[in-house]
Symmetry: C2
Subunit: 399 residues, 2 copies
Amino acid sequence: MLGITKARGAVLIDEEGREYIDAIASWYTAMYGHCNPDITGPVANQMSQLDQVIFSGLTHEPAIALSEALMKVLPSNQEKLFFSDNGSTAVEIGIKMALQYFYNKGQKRNVMLAFEDGFHGDTFGAMSVSGLSSYNGPFEDHFIQVERIEVPTENNVDKILSGLKTRLQQENIAGFVYEPLVQGAAAMKMHKPEHLNRILELLKSHSVLTIADEVMTGFGKTGSYFASDQLSIKPDIICLSKALTAGLLPMAITSCSKEIYDAFYDDEIAKGFFHGHTYTANPLACTAALSALNLLQTEAMQNNISRITSRHQQFNETIKNHPKVSETRQIGVIFALDLKIEMSRYGTLRDRLYDHFMENGVFLRPLGKTIYILPPYVISDAQLDKVYKAVSGALDLDL
Amino acid sequence: MLGITKARGAVLIDEEGREYIDAIASWYTAMYGHCNPDITGPVANQMSQLDQVIFSGLTHEPAIALSEALMKVLPSNQEKLFFSDNGSTAVEIGIKMALQYFYNKGQKRNVMLAFEDGFHGDTFGAMSVSGLSSYNGPFEDHFIQVERIEVPTENNVDKILSGLKTRLQQENIAGFVYEPLVQGAAAMKMHKPEHLNRILELLKSHSVLTIADEVMTGFGKTGSYFASDQLSIKPDIICLSKALTAGLLPMAITSCSKEIYDAFYDDEIAKGFFHGHTYTANPLACTAALSALNLLQTEAMQNNISRITSRHQQFNETIKNHPKVSETRQIGVIFALDLKIEMSRYGTLRDRLYDHFMENGVFLRPLGKTIYILPPYVISDAQLDKVYKAVSGALDLDL
């Protein structure tokens, strides 16, 4: 395994001093560049003042300041924030909110709806082995039932809607979890806002709670602060992580509307929402997130996003008709290209592509036959050229 | 809610400059004291070099150095480490290892065993709503079935063992998850090593994998590096978090024996162990953990642990026969006292106790009728006296 010793801006540096452009921003986290002093400076300062304190009964300025700043950019129906540690737990909280919302209202809704090929995290069981019923009340005795719908396209959206209409006559679906506009782990599959809007509208009319998993899409990657900004139907719950803390350390946030929050606010303790990790709202992570949010809103960073978006569009024109390319797609700073080739998700072909990119000083992680670019916003034009050249070069390989 | 602005050593400081002794070390994390320069210094330095990089295909010195240092102190049968972000995910990984271990061997074992009143985290569903079957193979189609056994005492251990012997004739139990010696969230309930040993021995003889959840007990709190050090039967899997990173930022580790690891090492990709969070093995968290582990092994810190242990023992002698005390218990730096009173877990009496402690400059969080102390190792004798005085004073309240 290759040892990385340093990182600066859009570049990773290995033990031999070789440089690699981090063209996927360390899994879409380090969007403002690695070791950015605008992030690390405030965190170092915070570390000398207050490293960590229990976020229950106590609070602290970094959490308050971040919450206020985040509320200003989130869709306006979002009113409350719950902190956790990673995207998986952010989604856990969203699911638990949806299930408990109906449980508290005395309605039996225990089915979750999700897209085929969605990816929302790796966790599923810690709670089930815990035996303290005061925490598990609304959830014990049943695993989540999950039903899936196809991702909408021009061709299938009417069929999806008519299937859903029939299904919704049975009023037991609590919530719908979806990655809006782009499904990351499914190899940057994209769908159109107008199609997703129609699905969300139908679900809302049947009181199904909508949970936008913006762990990957959040914080500018699709061109807007959140992918949900490009949809007319706003989610009830939003899950955030990854770029939230600018690639410095883990944290996640699940936001929700007032209506959801109010369902947990009750004199009856059992109706409260119990979910807390030890480092919840860690002051260092909150400081990193606040610094990142400030950077995101600068004209310079917004210009970077526009610049990368338009460069991606230009690159797309040069490559989309290549005989070895079966499809390209792009939104904001996310560009993806499918090779016209049969490949398994994990296999030697994928490894050959990976090696090709590394040899050319570019860190990219193809997902099966999909090559995608999701660079830090601070990547320079020259660095982008190097990435594009490596991608074009991959098409000349004898795969 | 009270705003905390600073923390130093064993002390939290609020907006008005009032000081509170953090007598539970911010949920058992800040054991080496808040804002300890021996921890924050190396982390600040790391933050200027390499903040974050994908831990898949790439590696970095902080992760390597931490792994080597941790292997030296973990029980000798532990050989491999898996990183994640918090205690819940560390346990998720342990459970998934146990289930997949048997799945890979072609044995159908899908039941987990756990103690009554155990607490192992808050997560349960992100994976179930994910639709990428390449990740979920061994787990989909069934929620974890969990069966519970009583926590052993002198009186029930024989009954537990004979019940288990009958139960184990059906060979479908994959693993046993337990908090060794102390159950934290269950109000610091304690059990004896010899009783737990007998249970573990029986389970091992039936090839049930043993998963020690040392998230709370790890890193010196019970007087040994790990509670499992006081047991003759070593766990197959160990879950670590909380004090791992010295109260600076979230990270978790699940360690396992070579036998477990080997079951995932196969040419067949589907037998691999898939669980990765974005910030897995975050370099800052690894640096904090390595610095903490170095501190834990110093004579000064070991002397602190012995000092607190013996002071707890002395305090116990003065209070255990108090008419308002129904039981006291102690192991290492953990001291707990049950009030002879009927109280609900959450209620006004608990709030009165909490307020009493805060008014006396001590941050303690009673769990129902249990008052417990779990101070940072760096707490001074004078600070400990103040904590003991506040606890004794609580007995004079008209509850």
